[in-house]
Amino acid sequence: MLEIYNFMLEINHLIMKAKYLAILKFSIAALILASMGFWIYKTSKPLNEFSYSIIAVMLLVVGFVIYFGFQALKDAKLGLSPVDEFSKRIAEKAAARTFKISIFMWLFGLFILDFFTIDSVNKAKLVIVIGMVGMTLIFLFIRLYLSRVGIDENKD
């Protein structure tokens, strides 16, 4: 009887944890959207192609966050743990691969920007923006890919 009671308590705890995680993810998505809306509303400069591409990337990031939020909600409904050793392993592997790829991406970004006539301050800003957005996207795509195909530790 006590074991059943403990098991039910454990399930209830997991549901609460998953719900909080889903709420956190939806809040992050809402915060990104609100900041982006504020930026578009307040900007004095007209939006150019670069701004539109940043908006598109941010919308993609919001899409990913909402997707992961719904997954956490799904887990909450089933009474499952939203974070476990497999999801942690995926996040670790995605972060490690992103770091490896980003080294080449930063170098490539610097190399490409040398062909354009931009002043050094704007160039530095551009490299940082491209690097940060690129790393975010690479991380999210690798995470999504690994959560679909799994991790073959024997091959990697």
């Binding site: 454990e10 009474g79 499952l80 743990s81 050793e85 999801s87």
Partner: protein, 63 residues
Amino acid sequence: MKTRIKELRARDNLTQVNLAQMVGVRRETIVFLEKGKYNPSLKLAYDISKIFNLKIEKVFIME
């Protein structure tokens, strides 16, 4: 590494969700364990083996 989780689940009439709840992981973890696409930690392997009342080496088979 191969596992007998699918076979043992069928033996004990357990769904992937049931097993995931019992060992405290996500359903996807059980899916990838069954497919051999993830090597579990020693603790998870032990917990799963305990559910089936078997030794670890009877559930997880090294090739």
